[in-house]
Amino acid sequence: MTMTTLRPAIVAGLTDLIGTMADDEFVIGFSDSEWTGIAPLLEEDVAMSSLAQDELGHAAALYGLLADLTGSDADALAYDREPGAYRHARLLDHGRGDWAMTIARRYLYETADAVRLEALVDGSWAPLAELCRKLVREERYHLMHVGSWFGRLADTPGEPRDRLETALAVLAPDAGTVFTPLDGETGLIDAGILAASMSELETRWRSVIGPTFARHGLAIPPRTDRPARGRTDHGAPFDWLWGEFNTVRRSDPGAIW
Protein backbone atom coordinates (compact mmCIF):
# COMPACT_ATOMS: atom_id res chain seq x y z
CA MET A 1 0.00 0.00 0.00
CA THR A 2 1.50 3.34 -0.98
CA MET A 3 0.42 6.77 0.20
CA THR A 4 -1.35 7.50 -3.08
CA THR A 5 -3.62 4.46 -2.85
CA LEU A 6 -4.81 5.05 0.72
CA ARG A 7 -8.51 5.69 1.07
CA PRO A 8 -9.45 8.95 2.83
CA ALA A 9 -10.87 7.06 5.82
CA ILE A 10 -7.55 5.21 6.22
CA VAL A 11 -5.62 8.47 5.94
CA ALA A 12 -7.82 9.90 8.70
CA GLY A 13 -7.24 6.84 10.89
CA LEU A 14 -3.48 6.95 10.28
CA THR A 15 -3.39 10.66 11.02
CA ASP A 16 -5.09 9.97 14.34
CA LEU A 17 -2.82 7.03 15.21
CA ILE A 18 0.51 8.55 14.15
CA GLY A 19 -0.44 11.91 15.64
CA THR A 20 -1.12 10.41 19.06
CA MET A 21 2.07 8.33 18.95
CA ALA A 22 4.13 11.38 17.96
CA ASP A 23 2.58 13.53 20.70
CA ASP A 24 3.25 10.80 23.27
CA GLU A 25 6.93 10.58 22.35
CA PHE A 26 7.29 14.36 22.09
CA VAL A 27 5.76 15.07 25.50
CA ILE A 28 7.56 12.33 27.42
CA GLY A 29 10.82 13.38 25.72
CA PHE A 30 10.44 16.98 26.85
CA SER A 31 9.26 15.95 30.33
CA ASP A 32 12.27 13.70 30.86
CA SER A 33 14.65 16.34 29.51
CA GLU A 34 13.72 18.31 32.64
CA TRP A 35 16.23 16.06 34.47
CA THR A 36 19.21 17.36 32.52
CA GLY A 37 21.60 18.79 35.08
CA ILE A 38 19.71 17.57 38.17
CA ALA A 39 19.48 13.76 37.84
CA PRO A 40 20.49 11.67 40.91
CA LEU A 41 24.02 11.07 39.62
CA LEU A 42 26.14 12.30 36.75
CA GLU A 43 25.97 9.08 34.75
CA GLU A 44 22.18 8.97 35.15
CA ASP A 45 22.03 12.58 34.02
CA VAL A 46 23.71 11.63 30.74
CA ALA A 47 21.57 8.51 30.44
CA MET A 48 18.23 10.23 31.06
CA SER A 49 19.15 13.13 28.76
CA SER A 50 20.10 10.64 26.06
CA LEU A 51 16.83 8.72 26.53
CA ALA A 52 14.89 11.98 26.31
CA GLN A 53 16.71 12.80 23.07
CA ASP A 54 15.81 9.35 21.75
CA GLU A 55 12.12 10.02 22.42
CA LEU A 56 12.33 13.38 20.64
CA GLY A 57 14.04 11.57 17.75
CA HIS A 58 11.13 9.15 17.62
CA ALA A 59 8.70 12.07 17.70
CA ALA A 60 10.59 13.73 14.83
CA ALA A 61 10.35 10.56 12.75
CA LEU A 62 6.63 10.16 13.50
CA TYR A 63 5.83 13.84 12.84
CA GLY A 64 7.84 13.51 9.62
CA LEU A 65 5.74 10.55 8.52
CA LEU A 66 2.59 12.45 9.45
CA ALA A 67 3.78 15.48 7.49
CA ASP A 68 4.34 13.31 4.40
CA LEU A 69 0.92 11.76 4.82
CA THR A 70 -0.96 15.01 5.25
CA GLY A 71 1.19 17.39 3.22
CA SER A 72 2.16 19.47 6.24
CA ASP A 73 5.38 20.44 8.03
CA ALA A 74 6.84 18.35 10.86
CA ASP A 75 8.01 21.35 12.92
CA ALA A 76 4.63 23.03 12.55
CA LEU A 77 2.93 19.83 13.70
CA ALA A 78 5.24 19.57 16.70
CA TYR A 79 5.21 23.18 17.85
CA ASP A 80 2.51 25.33 16.29
CA ARG A 81 -0.57 24.02 18.06
CA GLU A 82 -2.36 25.35 21.11
CA PRO A 83 -2.00 23.14 24.21
CA GLY A 84 -5.56 21.84 23.83
CA ALA A 85 -4.79 20.41 20.37
CA TYR A 86 -2.13 17.96 21.60
CA ARG A 87 -3.33 14.36 21.76
CA HIS A 88 -0.80 12.71 24.07
CA ALA A 89 -1.99 10.34 26.80
CA ARG A 90 -3.00 11.88 30.13
CA LEU A 91 -0.50 9.52 31.74
CA LEU A 92 2.10 12.08 30.60
CA ASP A 93 0.30 15.05 32.15
CA HIS A 94 1.54 14.91 35.75
CA GLY A 95 4.62 17.09 35.54
CA ARG A 96 8.16 15.91 36.05
CA GLY A 97 7.71 15.16 39.74
CA ASP A 98 10.43 13.36 41.71
CA TRP A 99 12.64 10.55 40.40
CA ALA A 100 10.13 7.88 41.44
CA MET A 101 7.37 9.69 39.52
CA THR A 102 9.56 9.81 36.43
CA ILE A 103 10.43 6.12 36.71
CA ALA A 104 6.80 5.09 37.39
CA ARG A 105 5.57 7.12 34.42
CA ARG A 106 8.33 5.86 32.14
CA TYR A 107 7.67 2.26 33.19
CA LEU A 108 3.93 2.50 32.49
CA TYR A 109 4.53 4.35 29.22
CA GLU A 110 7.41 2.28 27.85
CA THR A 111 5.66 -1.02 28.50
CA ALA A 112 2.47 0.34 26.87
CA ASP A 113 4.40 1.76 23.91
CA ALA A 114 6.10 -1.62 23.40
CA VAL A 115 2.70 -3.36 23.17
CA ARG A 116 1.43 -0.70 20.75
CA LEU A 117 4.54 -0.95 18.53
CA GLU A 118 4.26 -4.74 18.50
CA ALA A 119 0.77 -4.34 17.01
CA LEU A 120 2.18 -2.20 14.18
CA VAL A 121 5.47 -3.81 13.09
CA ASP A 122 3.76 -6.32 10.77
CA GLY A 123 1.21 -3.83 9.45
CA SER A 124 0.29 -3.58 5.80
CA TRP A 125 1.27 0.07 5.36
CA ALA A 126 5.02 -0.22 4.87
CA PRO A 127 6.13 3.32 5.89
CA LEU A 128 4.63 2.94 9.36
CA ALA A 129 5.56 -0.72 9.82
CA GLU A 130 9.19 -0.02 8.85
CA LEU A 131 9.45 2.95 11.19
CA CYS A 132 7.94 0.95 14.06
CA ARG A 133 10.46 -1.86 13.52
CA LYS A 134 13.24 0.73 13.98
CA LEU A 135 11.57 2.22 17.05
CA VAL A 136 11.25 -1.23 18.65
CA ARG A 137 15.02 -1.70 18.42
CA GLU A 138 15.67 1.50 20.37
CA GLU A 139 12.83 1.04 22.80
CA ARG A 140 14.32 -2.29 23.84
CA TYR A 141 17.09 -0.46 25.66
CA HIS A 142 14.62 2.03 27.14
CA LEU A 143 12.69 -0.88 28.64
CA MET A 144 15.90 -2.35 30.10
CA HIS A 145 16.86 0.98 31.67
CA VAL A 146 13.50 1.81 33.20
CA GLY A 147 12.99 -1.82 34.27
CA SER A 148 16.25 -1.65 36.25
CA TRP A 149 15.09 1.45 38.08
CA PHE A 150 11.52 0.29 38.61
CA GLY A 151 12.77 -2.94 40.19
CA ARG A 152 15.29 -1.28 42.46
CA LEU A 153 12.84 1.35 43.73
CA ALA A 154 10.20 -1.34 44.34
CA ASP A 155 12.65 -3.62 46.16
CA THR A 156 14.29 -1.00 48.39
CA PRO A 157 12.19 -0.50 51.53
CA GLY A 158 11.69 2.93 53.01
CA GLU A 159 11.84 6.10 50.98
CA PRO A 160 12.44 4.52 47.53
CA ARG A 161 9.52 2.09 47.83
CA ASP A 162 7.24 4.68 49.47
CA ARG A 163 7.90 7.25 46.77
CA LEU A 164 7.29 4.70 44.00
CA GLU A 165 3.98 3.66 45.58
CA THR A 166 2.94 7.30 45.93
CA ALA A 167 3.80 7.99 42.28
CA LEU A 168 1.92 4.91 41.07
CA ALA A 169 -1.12 5.93 43.12
CA VAL A 170 -1.09 9.40 41.49
CA LEU A 171 -0.68 7.95 37.99
CA ALA A 172 -3.08 5.01 38.46
CA PRO A 173 -6.27 6.65 37.07
CA ASP A 174 -4.40 7.57 33.87
CA ALA A 175 -2.13 4.52 33.62
CA GLY A 176 -3.92 2.94 30.65
CA THR A 177 -4.62 6.13 28.68
CA VAL A 178 -2.03 5.25 26.02
CA PHE A 179 -4.75 2.84 24.86
CA THR A 180 -7.49 5.44 24.55
CA PRO A 181 -9.69 4.22 21.64
CA LEU A 182 -9.08 6.04 18.34
CA ASP A 183 -11.94 7.06 16.04
CA GLY A 184 -10.53 5.35 13.00
CA GLU A 185 -9.07 2.22 14.59
CA THR A 186 -11.62 -0.20 13.12
CA GLY A 187 -10.66 0.91 9.62
CA LEU A 188 -6.96 0.50 10.42
CA ILE A 189 -7.58 -3.02 11.73
CA ASP A 190 -9.63 -3.95 8.63
CA ALA A 191 -6.83 -2.61 6.42
CA GLY A 192 -4.27 -4.74 8.27
CA ILE A 193 -2.32 -1.70 9.51
CA LEU A 194 -3.08 -2.20 13.21
CA ALA A 195 -3.23 -5.73 14.66
CA ALA A 196 -5.85 -5.16 17.37
CA SER A 197 -8.11 -2.55 18.96
CA MET A 198 -6.74 -0.25 21.64
CA SER A 199 -8.97 -2.01 24.16
CA GLU A 200 -7.47 -5.39 23.22
CA LEU A 201 -3.96 -3.88 23.37
CA GLU A 202 -4.68 -2.60 26.88
CA THR A 203 -5.63 -6.15 27.89
CA ARG A 204 -2.33 -7.42 26.42
CA TRP A 205 -0.41 -4.68 28.23
CA ARG A 206 -2.01 -5.62 31.55
CA SER A 207 -0.95 -9.23 31.03
CA VAL A 208 2.63 -7.99 30.38
CA ILE A 209 2.95 -5.77 33.47
CA GLY A 210 0.81 -7.97 35.75
CA PRO A 211 3.55 -10.43 36.73
CA THR A 212 6.04 -7.60 37.45
CA PHE A 213 3.57 -5.77 39.69
CA ALA A 214 2.66 -9.04 41.44
CA ARG A 215 6.32 -9.96 41.99
CA HIS A 216 6.96 -6.61 43.66
CA GLY A 217 3.68 -6.69 45.63
CA LEU A 218 2.40 -3.56 43.86
CA ALA A 219 -1.26 -2.88 43.03
CA ILE A 220 -1.99 -3.02 39.30
CA PRO A 221 -3.58 0.27 38.20
CA PRO A 222 -7.31 0.00 37.44
CA ARG A 223 -8.78 0.59 34.00
CA THR A 224 -9.41 4.26 33.46
CA ASP A 225 -12.95 5.27 34.43
CA ARG A 226 -13.19 8.00 31.78
CA PRO A 227 -11.66 6.55 28.61
CA ALA A 228 -13.13 9.27 26.37
CA ARG A 229 -10.93 11.83 28.15
CA GLY A 230 -7.75 9.78 27.84
CA ARG A 231 -6.07 12.20 25.46
CA THR A 232 -7.70 15.56 26.31
CA ASP A 233 -7.94 18.02 29.22
CA HIS A 234 -4.19 18.09 29.76
CA GLY A 235 -4.18 20.59 32.61
CA ALA A 236 -1.71 23.05 34.11
CA PRO A 237 1.48 20.92 34.09
CA PHE A 238 1.21 20.52 30.31
CA ASP A 239 0.43 24.21 29.81
CA TRP A 240 3.72 24.92 31.58
CA LEU A 241 5.66 22.34 29.54
CA TRP A 242 4.12 23.69 26.32
CA GLY A 243 5.38 27.16 27.21
CA GLU A 244 8.84 25.71 27.83
CA PHE A 245 9.21 23.70 24.64
CA ASN A 246 7.81 26.52 22.53
CA THR A 247 10.06 29.26 23.90
CA VAL A 248 12.68 29.19 21.17
CA ARG A 249 10.22 28.52 18.35
CA ARG A 250 8.04 31.46 19.35
CA SER A 251 10.96 33.80 19.98
CA ASP A 252 11.25 34.34 16.22
CA PRO A 253 8.31 32.82 14.34
CA GLY A 254 9.19 31.63 10.87
CA ALA A 255 12.95 31.69 11.45
CA ILE A 256 14.97 28.83 10.03
CA TRP A 257 17.10 27.30 12.76
Partner: protein, 123 residues
Protein backbone atom coordinates in the same frame (compact mmCIF):
# COMPACT_ATOMS: atom_id res chain seq x y z
CA UNK B 1 -1.55 -1.80 48.59
CA UNK B 2 -1.46 1.91 49.31
CA UNK B 3 1.58 3.83 50.40
CA UNK B 4 0.02 4.31 53.84
CA UNK B 5 -0.28 0.54 54.29
CA UNK B 6 3.34 0.11 53.30
CA UNK B 7 4.52 2.78 55.70
CA UNK B 8 2.58 1.25 58.58
CA UNK B 9 3.96 -2.22 57.92
CA UNK B 10 7.50 -1.10 58.57
CA UNK B 11 8.88 -0.21 61.94
CA UNK B 12 10.75 3.11 62.13
CA UNK B 13 14.09 1.39 62.74
CA UNK B 14 13.77 -0.40 59.37
CA UNK B 15 13.80 2.97 57.71
CA UNK B 16 17.10 3.92 59.31
CA UNK B 17 18.71 0.75 57.99
CA UNK B 18 18.15 1.78 54.40
CA UNK B 19 21.37 3.11 52.95
CA UNK B 20 21.90 4.63 49.57
CA UNK B 21 23.90 2.10 47.54
CA UNK B 22 27.62 2.79 47.38
CA UNK B 23 28.85 3.95 44.01
CA UNK B 24 32.03 2.39 42.72
CA UNK B 25 34.10 2.82 39.56
CA UNK B 26 33.72 0.52 36.57
CA UNK B 27 36.26 0.53 33.74
CA UNK B 28 34.91 0.60 30.22
CA UNK B 29 36.74 -0.80 27.20
CA UNK B 30 35.39 -0.19 23.74
CA UNK B 31 35.84 -1.57 20.27
CA UNK B 32 35.38 1.02 17.57
CA UNK B 33 34.83 -1.39 14.70
CA UNK B 34 34.88 -5.11 14.15
CA UNK B 35 38.45 -6.44 14.29
CA UNK B 36 39.85 -3.50 16.26
CA UNK B 37 41.44 -4.15 19.65
CA UNK B 38 39.48 -3.34 22.78
CA UNK B 39 40.79 0.01 24.03
CA UNK B 40 40.23 1.62 27.39
CA UNK B 41 37.57 4.30 26.96
CA UNK B 42 37.24 5.60 30.51
CA UNK B 43 35.20 4.79 33.57
CA UNK B 44 31.70 5.22 35.01
CA UNK B 45 30.44 5.31 38.58
CA UNK B 46 27.58 2.92 39.31
CA UNK B 47 26.12 1.01 42.28
CA UNK B 48 26.04 -2.35 40.48
CA UNK B 49 26.79 -4.18 37.24
CA UNK B 50 23.33 -3.61 35.75
CA UNK B 51 23.48 0.18 35.95
CA UNK B 52 27.20 0.14 35.09
CA UNK B 53 26.30 -1.48 31.76
CA UNK B 54 23.52 1.07 31.15
CA UNK B 55 25.86 3.96 31.88
CA UNK B 56 28.70 2.51 29.80
CA UNK B 57 26.23 2.19 26.94
CA UNK B 58 25.18 5.82 27.29
CA UNK B 59 28.62 7.33 27.83
CA UNK B 60 30.55 5.27 25.29
CA UNK B 61 27.93 4.09 22.82
CA UNK B 62 25.08 6.54 22.46
CA UNK B 63 26.60 8.14 19.38
CA UNK B 64 27.17 4.77 17.69
CA UNK B 65 30.90 5.12 18.34
CA UNK B 66 31.33 1.55 19.62
CA UNK B 67 30.40 -1.91 18.35
CA UNK B 68 31.33 -3.68 21.60
CA UNK B 69 31.92 -2.69 25.21
CA UNK B 70 33.61 -4.51 28.06
CA UNK B 71 32.60 -3.30 31.52
CA UNK B 72 34.84 -4.37 34.40
CA UNK B 73 34.51 -3.55 38.08
CA UNK B 74 37.70 -1.68 38.91
CA UNK B 75 38.04 -3.68 42.14
CA UNK B 76 38.25 -6.83 39.99
CA UNK B 77 41.20 -5.53 38.00
CA UNK B 78 44.54 -7.04 39.13
CA UNK B 79 46.69 -3.97 39.60
CA UNK B 80 50.46 -4.41 39.23
CA UNK B 81 52.61 -1.33 39.69
CA UNK B 82 55.55 -2.64 41.80
CA UNK B 83 58.76 -1.02 40.45
CA UNK B 84 60.86 -4.06 41.45
CA UNK B 85 58.72 -6.13 39.13
CA UNK B 86 58.21 -3.64 36.33
CA UNK B 87 61.20 -1.25 36.40
CA UNK B 88 64.21 -3.22 37.76
CA UNK B 89 67.37 -1.12 38.16
CA UNK B 90 69.77 -3.07 35.92
CA UNK B 91 70.00 -2.64 32.17
CA UNK B 92 67.47 -4.87 30.42
CA UNK B 93 67.89 -3.47 26.92
CA UNK B 94 69.10 -6.89 25.72
CA UNK B 95 65.56 -8.16 26.23
CA UNK B 96 64.18 -5.71 23.73
CA UNK B 97 63.71 -6.88 20.16
CA UNK B 98 66.06 -4.14 19.01
CA UNK B 99 68.31 -4.50 22.04
CA UNK B 100 71.57 -5.65 20.43
CA UNK B 101 73.29 -3.37 17.98
CA UNK B 102 74.33 -5.95 15.34
CA UNK B 103 76.10 -3.69 12.85
CA UNK B 104 79.63 -3.89 14.34
CA UNK B 105 79.43 -7.63 15.01
CA UNK B 106 78.23 -8.31 11.45
CA UNK B 107 81.03 -6.19 9.97
CA UNK B 108 83.63 -8.09 12.04
CA UNK B 109 82.19 -11.45 10.97
CA UNK B 110 82.25 -10.42 7.30
CA UNK B 111 85.84 -9.24 7.52
CA UNK B 112 86.86 -12.51 9.12
CA UNK B 113 85.13 -14.65 6.44
CA UNK B 114 86.01 -12.38 3.49
CA UNK B 115 82.38 -12.02 2.41
CA UNK B 116 81.09 -8.75 1.00
CA UNK B 117 78.03 -7.09 2.37
CA UNK B 118 75.08 -8.29 0.27
CA UNK B 119 73.58 -5.68 -1.99
CA UNK B 120 70.06 -4.50 -1.37
CA UNK B 121 67.69 -6.62 -3.42
CA UNK B 122 66.43 -5.08 -6.62
CA UNK B 123 62.71 -4.41 -6.95
Amino acid sequence: MTSTDAAERRAPQDRAQVHAPELEPWEVFRQEKDGDPMRHGGSVMAPDAELAVHYARELFGRRQESVRLWVVRRADVLDLDDPDLLQPPLDRSFKKPGGYVMRDKLAAARAQSGQAKPKARQG
